[in-house]
Amino acid sequence: MIRSAQDDQRIVITGIGLTAPNGDNLADFRAALLAGRSGVDKYFIRYVGDTLAGECHFDELKYQKRKEVRRGTRAGGVGIYCANEAVADSGIEWSAVDTSRVGVYIGVTEHGNVETENEINEIKAFDYDTRVWSHHHNPRTVANNPAGEITLNMSITGPHYTIGAACAAGNAGLIQGAQMLMLGECDLAIAGGVSESIRTFGIFAGFASQGALAANEDPTRASRPFDRDRNGIVVSEGGGLFVLERFSDASRRGARIYGELVGYAMTSDASDFVLPNPVQQARCMNLALARAELSADEIDIVSTHATATESGDIQECDALRRVFGNSPDTLINNTKSFIGHAMGAAGSLELAGNLLAFQDGVCHPTINVDNLDPRCELPGLVLNESREKGKVDYILNNSFGMLGINSAVIIKKI
């Protein structure tokens, strides 16, 4: 139970740093979502060839030297950009922060595939002579790399690690950061998720072999959750990191607060490697609601996970029906229709994209729904055009992943 907690057990979001295929800061990202602007484009990846992806275009040299970019990983670079942006956005005077009390908790879907593929491709040119395998391989591929690079860049000496949680990772990172603040392990958390997944051919080839890789003549129309003509996932990269603080600390320094994490839950399906389980997804959402002491009809916006695979979309809509079937005023949207599936960053980016609804009262839509799949029919679906909601007090953000990992977070307007 979180909602009735003392102020030093209440966790709030005070800074947001992000890069998405359609925006490199919250204002631009939000504007793109309200304007219906996709970030998906044509993309080439070795071995697979021409495909589609959501690629980010943030300035890598804003917070890193060229040598650091060369030595590190794309996920590390994404994390460094987002972490610095989040801290700047929080208004905290970083030079006065005791960085031994800062924790870095970064959700990742996977890490190391990109770097391993690069090295194998490199030694292939040397007839697989492993003597030319890079000494940078291990520091690049250790699972804590994206979080560790942030600590190196920002001189943070508090705890850091990644949370491997498939495509629930963005929410999982946020939850981990909040829990560490509650436990007193840190006084400020940089938490969320990052992804470099478009740099690995394996993820494209894997989805293609699974019959789950999207294709479309018009890249901006390729990611179409809930639409009958969907044909799979658009893989994207990105990052979404939050500065989290205890409410007591944030209010003491007069911080601007984006919202409070009043409920969260993570559950497992224990049923299939890839197929989702609506019973467990519904249980996850209900658990988050119970911890927040909220009923479903008090949620104003549900940010769905749906990835534009047939089974994933239908199963999540089944789960939503179980939880929000009697909540006709709850609006439901999907951000992947704009940016594709940002994997480890998906959860935090999709949450961030919705948070400004607390201020502007608008629910951005799911775009690219020309023929709604009747199996995805839900009363609150906001399709193709943004909808004025008016007062928005609670947002629930879903993120699910392979091996049956489910997450839901609920953010309250402060």
Binding site: K65, K67, R70, R71, R131, V132, S134, H135, H136
Partner: protein
């Protein structure tokens, strides 16, 4: 390769390894680490690039020979004298 060509090759490698550095003012007699930000991983990069580009193996005991430009060229000259500059 001549000594001058080896120097050009080392500068080319350094440009890739230390892209933020101004290499035009390098003093050939002064240790690289005193003139630019280079750590042990960077020196391994120099060793790796020599291996990749020219199939030259620098034994670990000889890494100290790569401390500055003059010592590097002196060390590499006998190893690279038969290699044509591309």
């Amino acid at each position: 390769m001549t000594g001058e060509e080896i120097k050009e090759e080392i500068l080319d490698i350094l440009e890739a390894i230390a892209p933020d550095e101004d290499l035009t003012q390098i003093d050939d007699a002064v240790n690289f680490r005193e003139q630019m930000e280079l750590d042990s991983m960077d020196f391994l990069d120099i060793v790796m690039e020599l291996r990749k580009r020219h199939r030259i193996q620098v034994p670990e005991d000889d890494y100290l020979q790569l401390a500055n430009m003059n010592s590097t060229v002196t060390f590499l000259l006998p190893l690279m004298k038969d290699i044509q500059k591309v």
